[in-house]
């Protein structure tokens, strides 16, 4: 990584909101084409970190650098976590993707075959052709998620920031979208930073992981980071990294026995990070 210019460098980033420290000295780097999971439980600071990278939230100290020429906007794609699309808006899914391509441009949109093809390709890539002509505000949550991923990707960003893009997806769609993002990030050389509270669907795809707990982070390869000693140090108290049925679960020590039993009973519904 030292030879290749990093797509994103976060150095000792600190953010305070409403007088509370939300991010504490978060540091990590992403190389072009890397697929990185940003993992943490609710309220751990994932959204805040992504918004800080976009420049929506000011750092109190530290630095965030994008690759040369990548200013927010041009070469950064973003899918926000909460997005309520107005069902009254006369916008088809394909219009939303087209806006991803040139929504920031001035002047009226002239019809262009090249533009239409790029949009079509992207709709195909995310599997949104079937509902491409429907009003986007009336699509289901998972369908909207695909359209928004297409919106963010169609510009071929060098850095793609996705905030909980898997939250509304069923198991099969989750696997599909992860595989798609993985493939496209390699193809386009785009670094992907994807937040999720559950790391499991990302394990097969992730090159790196940034694990957030209470605003502090550890980063590295998943097998280096997702370990009992490392995460216990991050949380500041003992946690167990439990592997059951091919899934990884991080649990507070006292809860781990119960969780082990629960997972054994019902492997699908495992929740829980302290």
């Amino acid at each position: 990584m030292s030879t290749v210019a990093a797509a994103l460098t976060v150095e000792r980033a600190c953010v305070e909101l409403g007088g509370r420290p939300i991010l504490r000295e978060v540091s990590f780097q992403l190389a072009p084409g890397e697929f990185c999971g940003l993992i943490g439980s609710n309220g751990s600071g994932k959204t805040t970190l992504l918004r800080a990278i976009l420049g929506f939230v000011r750092l109190d100290s530290g630095q965030i650098r994008l690759a040369d020429g990548t200013t927010a906007g041009r070469l950064v794609g973003y899918v926000p976590q909460k997005i309520a699309l107005d069902p009254g808006l006369p916008l088809r899914a394909r219009d939303v993707v087209a806006l991803g391509l040139d929504g920031a441009r001035l002047g009226p949109a002239l019809p262009s075959r090249r533009r239409a093809e790029q949009v079509e390709q992207m709709l195909h890539a995310v599997g949104a052709e079937a509902f491409a002509d429907q009003r986007v505000g009336l699509l289901s949550g998972g369908q909207q998620q695909r359209v928004l991923v297409a919106h963010a990707l169609v510009r071929r960003p060098r850095l793609l920031l996705l905030d909980e893009p898997l939250a509304n997806l069923d198991v099969r769609s989750t696997a599909e979208i992860v595989a798609l993002l993985r493939r496209l990030s390699r193809e386009y050389g785009a670094a992907v930073l994807l937040s999720a509270h559950d790391m499991n669907p990302l394990l097969p795809a992730m090159d790196r992981i940034v694990y957030l707990a209470h605003g502090s982070a550890v980063a590295g390869k998943a097998e280096e980071v997702v370990r009992t000693e490392v995460l216990s140090e991050l949380y500041g108290y003992h946690v167990d990294v439990v592997r059951v049925h091919g899934r990884v679960v991080v649990v507070a020590a006292e809860a781990s026995d119960q969780i082990r039993a629960a997972v054994a009973r019902d492997p699908v519904h495992t929740a829980s990070v302290p």
Binding site: L54, G55, F56, T71, A72, G73, V76, G77, Y78, P80, I83, L85, D86, G88, L89, P90, L91, R92, D95, V96, L99, G100, D102, G103, A104, R105, L106, G107, P108, A109, D133, Q134, R135, V136, L138, L148, H151, R155
Partner: protein, 265 residues
């Protein structure tokens, strides 16, 4: 109905309808109906102030519009656009009461300011309105895509453009310009109908954004033409028909949406 003295009326009304229909598309897309009501109504005391000082009415409207944009854009943070608009309206109407009592403007001209004055306009007025309208439509065309993206999601627009907030400003400024153009013609109360009625109807009939925009403009023009024709035939006020036709547009849009949803499921 097409006598020489009516030509100015037709021209002026058409220009005003074009601009109102175009900005109306964005008013509805951005859910900004209340600011679209508060700015024109809040600007009307400006005309009273102008007559008190003996200056051009348009100038008074422009100054009050600019103040309105400042107050609304500075006070609104996130969801509070409604509150900011209401506050502006309260302030400006309070000033209006005072100004009207001081200036002794005739009831007739107040009536014109509230409900419009299409007939008996001068050639100069047509020219100045045409120039302002070309400006307004030009700016809207320039920012059409970013404004649409921002209507879809402020966050997406902010991510694509670097940072927004500026788009809301541009939008409010265009709303203000539309007010200056339209208030003397259709009135502070009725310009709202012309912006919201046709735009709401148009988007119920198509899923395509630029078609909805074109539809909004077309319906808005049709409404004022219809209103002038009906007023001529019945000798009732133009404003009555502008209001009625605008409302009819809105209702037809609602019926169509309800129908579409019923069909879909």
């Amino acid at each position: 109905m097409f006598a020489p003295f009516m030509v100015h009326a037709w021209l002026l009304a058409t220009i005003v309808a074009l601009v109102s229909g175009a900005i109306g598309f964005f008013v509805v897309a951005r859910r900004a109906a209340f600011p679209a009501h508060a700015l024109p109504l809040g600007a009307f005391p400006g005309a009273a102030a102008a007559s008190l000082l003996g200056v051009n009415q348009l100038l008074g409207l422009a100054v009050f519009c600019a103040l309105g944009v400042l107050v609304i854009s500075q006070l609104q943070r996130g969801e509070r656009r409604e509150v900011a608009s209401a506050l502006w309206l309260a302030l400006s109407l309070a000033a209006g009461v005072l100004l009207l009592s001081l200036s002794g403007v005739y009831a007739q001209s107040i009536n014109g300011l509230l409900f419009g004055q299409v007939l008996g306009v001068s050639r100069e007025q047509v020219v100045s309105v045409a120039v302002l309208s070309v400006g307004a439509l030009g700016v809207l065309a320039l920012f059409a895509r970013p404004l649409l993206l921002d209507s879809l999601s402020g966050e997406l627009a902010a991510a694509a453009l670097g940072r927004t907030g500026r788009l809301e400003w541009i939008f409010l400024a265009m709303l203000a310009l539309t007010t200056v153009i339209a208030v003397p013609v259709v009135g502070a109360l009725l310009v709202f109908t012309l912006m919201v009625g046709p735009a709401s109807a148009a988007r119920a009939f198509t899923n395509r954004p630029w078609r909805a925009l074109a539809g909004s403009v077309a319906l808005s023009v049709a409404s004022v033409w219809g209103a002038i024709a009906l007023a001529y035939l019945t000798n009732w006020p133009v404003g009555l028909f502008v209001g009625l036709l605008g409302a009819a547009c809105y209702v037809s849009g609602r019926l169509r949406s309800a129908g579409a949803v019923a069909q879909a499921g």
